[in-house]
């Protein structure tokens, strides 16, 4: 961009003109904000108002624009000027809608609006128009890891959408678990009997598709690169290695069945005690005729033991529910009933869980005479010709036993998620695991896990996403699920992968800042090689070179700014978001003196949840104190400690940090950002003490997007507390 020309546009619509002294603000923009052009308009987002700005950009050479009107989250279509850098001063949701009505508040309301305008001008001067990732790459091929139901579906969905697909499968044929099943749980109306799996047809379709290349008997020897330019070494069983270049990866590596041998109390290891997979084999070999045991005897009675080694609270086995096993046992009981209605089939459960349309399937099994017994199995032991199942009947509250020919253990799903990169290297568990992706990232070989070895993505808000950009998880590797859910997952992950390659090609960010053209810029000459950025980046975007300087892979970056918050020497920045853009805003606020009784409180609010909650507090007209000044941040993880010290040094009386919930049930859009911020802020007390300040002057809050009423209450409570503590002694030194 040639020369910087700044302009401020102040809107007087939506009641702004009635509540605020716009003329005074025009002067502030000119004198204090040093804006070269200042204009007022009575209805800025109208066609006429927008045209005014457009004309200035075209004819006056305006390159930097402040819009002092509504929140940056409002009217984004109207105020869309892709060729200029832009900041927004939030006078509507942030000021006139939240400051109490009446003349008594006119002064503080005006002060608040003036400050937001000053902040907008200050931020603008440090902003640059983002130009997009300079290291973009446009390979649009999609790699699918795993050829089971999820993998095949993902491959087919991507190919049908027009993208080339490379599918890598460890086994000698496609199909995964699905190929081993005799029938599947019904997925179509009327949900009353087991249905054909369709795995063979799907496999044929995948193998025959002109856009899909299938590598059987193959694994990934190494994965390197970034979205749009991944390089994968595909190792065949024979030892041959071939290289493929792909733009995005879908990991559908599925699950392993929990080993029944680890359940000796449930008869694991005894003859005629099998798991659900074992029963599928028996059913397949019976081929619709009455099912026979491995010793050739026809099964006349069978007991299904649900939750075998699952939902275990002793810490020995799986602690979670795999979700599919109740329906699977119902299906398998029907194998027996459909071949011979006189076979005794007992499903022993503690809670029957049949998600989806499973309730119809359950009812259908009851109609067929499958017996459902609510009981907890204590021990399975050998008996003459069969087995004895000792259990506690949970309805009748007594210990009883039944004899049976066959016992089927409903064991759970263990995700095939590769190496747990968070375990220390010497951990035995880590050594035993075989990596799936073999990433050459410095952060580890596989996808980071959240709990139970499942790949970390937000189950509800952003499924399929992982903490490695351009790599998506689908199927039971992400959470336990049945075949229908796995195929739905696959379609979702395919769409995500397509978005990823398209965004990488355009040099834009992926979820959640989709379309963001800014990227992290590092001033290496200032870097002290402390490695905090490489360690703390939630997405493993930063490698190290041989001199141990950070190497940013912009395409892997989600633009959260966690590296920027981490950097002690502040050498990391984005074109439109940096230590300076926020720091300048903090310094632009006019701080009244100690005796004014008008404290100033800085709010650093996460733009994903907390800032929208503040906006909605405005929308709902929840009144809060006019002493606060809110600045949106990309993520609390991007908050650099210098902002806090700067604010306190320049006389702010308090700092409120508002971010998303962290921990196992996190809501942080960048997964680890709010957690890191919380960790960093836990150490801020020492700094405060050094400054001779009360620890209450910096407070952290978890704010959800729905907290609009709460956020107003939080502000008012905090302001009351600050008033109680008294004004900061630091005023006038900044």
């Amino acid at each position: 961009m040639a020369e910087m020309k700044t302009a401020a546009y102040i809107c007087a619509g939506c009641g702004l003109g009635d509540k605020l002294d716009i003329a005074q603000m025009e002067k502030i923009a000119q004198k204090e904000g040093k804006m070269q052009l200042v204009r007022r308009h009575d209805f800025l987002c109208s066609t006429e108002g927008v045209e005014l700005i457009r004309k200035d950009i075209a004819t006056e050479g305006v390159s930097h624009v402040v819009i002092a009107a509504c929140s940056r989250r409002a009217k984004t279509e109207a105020f869309d000027f892709p060729t200029v850098a832009m900041s927004r001063a939030n006078l509507r949701e942030g000021v006139i809608w939240v400051v109490a009505e009446g003349e008594a508040h006119d002064e503080v309301r005006q002060e608040m609006a003036n400050d937001y305008l000053r902040m907008g001008c200050a931020e603008l001067k440090k902003m640059k128009l983002p130009e997009g990732n300079p290291n973009k790459a446009g390979n649009k091929r999609i790699l699918v890891v795993g050829g089971g139901m999820a993998g095949m579906t993902a491959a087919l969905e991507s190919a049908e959408t027009g993208y080339e697909v490379v599918l890598v499968e460890k086994a000698g044929q496609l199909g995964g678990w699905a190929a081993r099943l005799w029938r599947r749980v019904p997925f179509k109306q009327p949900y009353d009997k087991p249905q054909e799996t369709g795995a063979a047809q799907l496999a044929a379709k995948v193998s025959g598709h002109p856009k899909i290349r299938v590598h059987l008997n193959s694994t990934l020897a190494e994965t390197s690169g970034a979205p749009g330019r991944f390089k994968v070494q595909i190792a065949q069983e024979s030892g041959a290695v071939s290289e493929e270049e792909v733009g995005a990866i879908i990991q559908a590596s599925g699950f392993s069945s929990y080993d029944p041998a680890r359940l000796p109390e449930l008869g694991g290891g005894l003859a005629n005690v099998i798991d659900q997979a074992g029963l599928e084999d028996l059913a397949s070999s019976a081929n619709g005729a009455p099912i026979k045991r491995s010793d050739g005897r026809e099964v006349k009675s069978v007991v299904f033991v649900q939750c075998a080694g699952q939902r275990d609270d002793t810490g020995t086995h799986l602690s979670y529910c795999s979700g599919h096993c109740c329906a699977t046992s119902i299906k398998q009981a029907m194998y027996f009933k459909d071949a011979n209605p006189d076979v005794d089939t007992v499903i022993m459960y503690t809670d029957l869980r049949v998600p989806g349309m499973g309730e119809d399937f359950y009812r259908s099994a009851q109609e067929k005479g499958v017996i459902f017994t609510k009981g907890k199995v204590a021990k399975v032991e050998s008996a003459t010709d069969g087995l004895k199942v000792n259990f506690r009947d949970l309805i009748l509250d007594e210990d009883v036993a039944i004899e049976t020919d066959l016992v089927v253990l409903a064991t759970g799903q263990v995700p095939n998620s590769g190496v747990n990169i968070d375990l220390p290297d010497e951990d035995e568990g880590k050594a035993k695991q075989v990596s799936i992706l073999n990433l050459n990232y410095r952060q580890g070989k596989d996808l980071p896990q959240l709990v139970h070895g499942l790949a970390d993505s937000h189950f509800i808000c952003f499924p399929y996403e992982t903490r490695r950009t351009g790599i998506y998880a689908a199927g039971p590797v992400r959470r336990p699920m049945d075949m229908l859910q796995a195929t739905e997952d696959a379609a979702g992950a395919a769409l995500k992968a397509i978005q990823a390659v398209e965004n990488a090609d355009a040099g834009r960010a992926a979820h959640p800042r989709v379309g963001d053209l800014s990227y992290p810029i590092v001033r290496l000459e200032g870097c002290t090689q402390c490695k905090r950025c490489t360690v703390e980046c939630p997405f493993g975007a930063i490698d190290e070179d041989e001199r141990r300087f950070p190497v940013f892979n912009e395409s892997r970056c989600r633009r959260c700014g966690t590296c920027m918050g981490a950097c002690p020497v502040r050498v990391i920045s984005f074109e439109n978001y940096s230590v300076d853009t926020v720091g300048n805003q903090i310094k632009a606020v006019d701080i009244p003196d100690e005796f004014s009784e008008r404290p100033r409180i800085l709010i650093l609010a996460c733009e994903n949840d907390a800032y929208p909650a503040l906006d909605m507090a405005g929308l709902a007209h929840h009144v809060y104190s006019a002493f606060v000044r809110a600045i949106p941040v990309r993520c609390l993880g991007s908050v650099n400690a210098i902002w806090i010290t700067d604010a306190l040094n320049s006389g702010y009386d308090g700092v409120m940090m508002m971010g998303c919930k962290h921990g196992d049930n996190y809501q942080c859009h960048f997964v680890k950002g709010s957690e890191l911020a919380n960790y960093r802020m836990s150490k801020i007390d020492d700094t405060l003490k050094q400054l001779g300040l009360e620890v209450e002057r910096v407070a952290s809050y978890e704010v959800a997007i729905t907290d609009n009423a709460r956020v107003a209450a939080l502000i008012n409570d905090y302001v009351a507390k600050i008033v109680e503590i008294g004004m900061s002694p630091m005023k006038g030194f900044g």
Partner: protein
């Protein structure tokens, strides 16, 4: 009567559920219970039952024949239909309770002296005799079911109500002598006999 019981035991061996399905009114619904316990929670007499409907269904599935059929729980049902209205699986629980009670009675193993059962027996015998309920005789046989002394005591206690009803012509003292009945009493008894024959045949109680 107990013949029926031993025959049934021999016939169904361990499969009590099958016996209930074939022989108890609405018994084919028992397998559809999903053990949610809403019936047990809805029953206004629930606290007085030894086994709630939910438990009875579980016991049937668990093959506890003796315990179910000799239980007095299903005799406690007052037919309020609360459970039927609330059952998420729409089981006709009230009917199943009556079905179980009537089946146990038919086998001769229902609990002796159970008041509901005694009253039902008195009512049925009274009705079956003449095809009309003889209210005076029904009342008196109910009063005297536990013997002369308690009968006189109860009758004396109810004296004023009885006299009031006589005065209001709601009770005819002459009914004590035979009382009124159907015109074709023979035909009525033939119908009852045939009905029982059909039912026994259907249930396999020969």
């Amino acid at each position: 009567m107990s013949d029926h019981n031993s025959q049934a035991v021999a016939r169904y061996r361990n499969n009590f559920l099958k016996e209930v399905e074939e022989r108890v009114e609405e018994g084919e619904w028992v397998k559809m219970c999903m053990q949610c316990g809403v019936c047990a929670g809805s029953c206004p007499f629930g606290a007085h039952w030894q086994h709630s409907p939910q438990k009875l269904f579980m016991m049937i599935r668990a093959g506890k024949r003796e315990e179910v059929l000799t239980s007095d729980s299903m005799w406690m049902c007052t037919s309020c239909y609360n459970c039927v209205v609330r059952c998420p699986r729409q089981l006709p629980i009230t009917h199943i309770m009556h079905g179980l009670a009537s089946y146990a009675h038919r086998l001769g193993i229902a609990p002796k002296g159970q008041p509901t059962r005694e009253f039902a027996k008195i009512f049925w015998d009274n009705l079956a005799k003449k095809g009309r309920v003889n209210e005076l005789k029904l009342t008196l046989s109910l009063y005297f079911k536990d013997g002369l002394v308690s009968g006189i005591k109860t009758a004396m206690g109810m004296q004023s109500i009885g006299l009031g009803m006589v005065k209001a012509k709601r009770l005819n003292p002459m009914e004590i002598f035979g009382g009124h009945g159907l015109k074709d009493l023979k035909g009525f008894h033939a119908i009852l006999a045939k009905a029982r024959e059909i039912e026994d045949k259907r249930k396999g109680l020969t």
